[in-house]
Amino acid sequence: MLKIKKGGVHPHDEKESTEHKKIETLPVPSKLFIPLRQHIGEPAVPVVKAGDMVKKGQVIAESPDGRATPVHSSTSGKVAEIGNYMHPLYGLSPCVVVESDGLDEWQENLLAERNWETLSNAEMIDIIFKNGIVGMGGAGFPTHIKLSPPKDKNIDTLIVNGAECEPYLTSDYRMMIEFPDEIIKGTLITMKILNVQTCYIGIEHNKPDAIKLMTEKCKGTSIQIVELETRYPQGAEKMMIKVITGREVPSGKLPMDVGCAVQNIGTLKAITEAVEKNIPLIERVVTVAGKTVKDPKNLMVKLGTPFKEMFEYCGGFIAPNGKIIMGGPMMGMAQVNLESVVIKAASGIVSIADNDVDYQPEKACIRCGRCVEVCTMGLRPNILSILSEKGQHQTAQTDYDLMDCVECGCCYYVCPSRRNIVHYIRQSKAKNAMLRAAAKTGSK
């Protein structure tokens, strides 16, 4: 079993409420609000207008630049409008509103039967791009870009991230249990595209069933299953690479600079479906959990489904909510209301009960050093938070490696003074970005 060498925390994983429940399919809601921006990069450009009839899987927004990914309709129905609705990450953002006709009909001639082994790499990357696949672990980085590294980068190892180290989330785990063949096929496809011979699937120790099943299924392939200690933030890309290969991604560099590529479980399943059946990315598995949810579940949900519908399907709430979070409680985004919708990178929706919200006021740093101990990046979060408090954002960047922070949140988790260190760090990063932008326009 491999471990993080230094740092990290072990919050209670809270996975027992959903980990043994089969994935259920959420009935198609009457209205879907499909955001145009579900990836890192420019928003997609809509190619439909209000009043158009669309089919399931039909392209409703195209990539403006070949980097951003296209967006597809998640069901069949009528485009009601293109307007601003709640996006879980960016607030009010342009969405295509599709009124379901209840038929959920595929676009004609869309689906295909293909054998990936007969396809060329360029063909497969094009298929992946056209089907709108992005990294489904949380960042939403377009997969076709990840799979076309620059010529001078020599990638020799593929790492599949099945760590799922965030509390509550079990969607990756359920996918490994219910769709192991798709995931392994997606892994093989990715290995072929990247031309790598070595592949590890890293799974945390608290998912023994998944480790056993995947080990059995991977027999006869060059894929190796690696058992990892249960520790947050092991699923962070850089940690995963370090733990499994011993390589450290240098500051400011990408995994490909140390010859690695990391893929998420959900992404691999989506790759298989796109390559073999030409199914675009229009739905995903989302964990709906939290202490206030009556019947927590893993749901197969159409992209663009409002959170409200999902909570209703799970029996509603049994206690007052404090926070609703998209993603896990360590790194997820707190939501303003339940109108927010599921996007490609939403792995879970977690509710935090009102009486579990930490209302304790922030105090001064008492220099206990716990944040320094848990910081896997080897930073000094205590000093970063104080510099940000004092407005010395530049010093934080030049002398204290501000930009290396991955915002995993371990420092806040252990801080006895309840200092929201991650918030301070984000503030510094944002202030510095504004300064850089101002300097750029000033010099022009």
Binding site: P11, K238, T245, G246, R247, E248, V249, P250, S251, V258, G259, P320, G322, K323, I324, G327, P329, M330, M331, G332, A334, Q335, V336, N337, V350, I352, V357, D358, Y359, Q360, E362, K363, A364, C365, I366, R367, G369, V372, E373, T376, M377, G378, L379, R380, D401, D404, E407, G409, Y412, Y413, V414, C415, S417, R418, N420, V422, H423, Y424, R426, Q427
Partner: protein
């Protein structure tokens, strides 16, 4: 954009929006401070048995003084009054434990003012002080009242560890004065010290149990070590700090502490005597591990502990005072920012080039 603002005026029907993370472990400053207070309690109770009511009066005056000065200063500065977090109580208690058991009533109050007013609040309050407030308080009254501060009450517990006599006299305010072991060592030498206890074994036993003269809370090595072990188990302090500090003192006094006919003979010192006498145990477990005034990293804390040990030995063997733990820790407090500047964790991604496959 202040993170604190986001949490106010939210009714449960509305959702709270804050930056991640959204979960926290159960530790807090208040909890840490009160647990440290509790771990000191056995030694504090023992001091009352050992030295009687005057010890209790001194302790209560120190604690009351610290809490009152903290509240008054925070009220005056229109800051939130935070005496309930236990840090002022801890400062008062720690300072009391480093004072002689029986001193005039005003000395604890002057000491509390120096500790809380000067050492803590002129720097900005909890978390900002450079020097350990309890030790500043002690150093302040040491310089101000040298005679009272070197007048030591003798133990009321019998030589054989007989508690019954002490229990009978616990409510009495009578004080019989005597010398501390390190005082005898400094003035009369090692043989006189052993003779004063009867035998070497009796001396070690007395030092461990605590039926000897000294500052009121520092005498019982065993109870202090038990308290310290609890702190180590709770991960509030690191075992490296007390081990390294006490070890440094032991090794150096073994090398340099032995004298035959007034001449130094190397490697003949009595390390055990030095390791369990004076304020070393309380200093190493409770003062050199103070979070605020010691380095952040474990490596830095080890350097700090070595420095404390070396300075303690220098003062004990070559300085004017019989005991040097207080000053050694204060001096190393002054070096802490420097240590933190040069000793920091290795940044992730600084392994030059990769490629070692597992």
């Amino acid at each position: 954009m202040d993170p604190k603002d986001n949490k106010v005026n939210q009714t449960p029907e509305k959702l709270i929006v804050t930056s991640s993370p959204h979960v926290h472990d159960t530790e807090s400053v208040t909890k840490i401070m009160w647990i440290v207070n509790l771990t000191l309690l056995p030694a504090a109770v023992f001091s009352v048995i050992n030295f009687g009511l005057p010890a209790l009066v001194t302790m209560l005056l120190c604690i009351a003084g610290s809490v009152a000065f903290e509240a008054a200063i925070q009220y005056w500065r229109k800051k939130e009054i935070t005496v309930s977090d236990g840090s002022a109580v801890l400062t008062g208690l720690l300072m009391a434990m480093c004072l002689p058991p029986s001193i005039p009533w005003y000395i604890p109050l002057v000491g509390s003012f120096a500790a809380i007013g000067i050492a803590k609040h002129t720097m900005g309050g909890l978390g900002h002080n450079i020097f350990n407030p309890a030790h500043i308080g002690r150093a302040f009254v040491m310089a101000s009242y040298p005679v009272a501060m070197t007048t030591w009450a003798v133990t009321r517990i019998g030589k054989e560890g007989d508690f019954s006599g002490a229990m009978g006299k616990i409510a009495s305010l009578d004080v019989v004065t005597g010398a501390t072991p390190l005082g005898i060592l400094k003035q009369q030498g090692y043989q006189a010290l052993v003779d004063s206890f009867g035998s070497q074994a009796a001396m070690y036993k007395a030092l461990l149990i605590g039926n000897r003269g000294g500052s009121l809370g520092e005498t019982s090595a065993i109870l202090l070590i038990i308290g310290g072990l609890i702190l180590i188990a709770k991960k509030y302090i690191k075992w490296q700090v007390p081990v390294v500090m006490i070890g440094t003192v032991g090794i150096l006094t073994w090398i340099l502490g032995g004298k035959v006919d007034g001449k130094l003979v190397l490697f003949t010192g009595d390390p055990i005597l030095h390791m369990i006498s004076g304020g070393l145990i309380i200093g190493a477990f409770f003062m050199a591990t103070d979070m605020v005034t010691t380095p952040i990293t474990t490596k830095g804390q080890i350097i700090f502990a070595v420095g404390c040990g070396v300075i303690t030995v220098l003062i004990r063997l070559y300085g004017g005072y019989p005991e040097g733990v207080c000053y050694s820790i204060l001096l190393m407090n002054a070096v802490t920012p420097l240590i933190d500047r040069y000793v920091y964790p290795k940044k992730f991604g600084s392994i030059p080039e990769p490629a070692k496959r597992r």
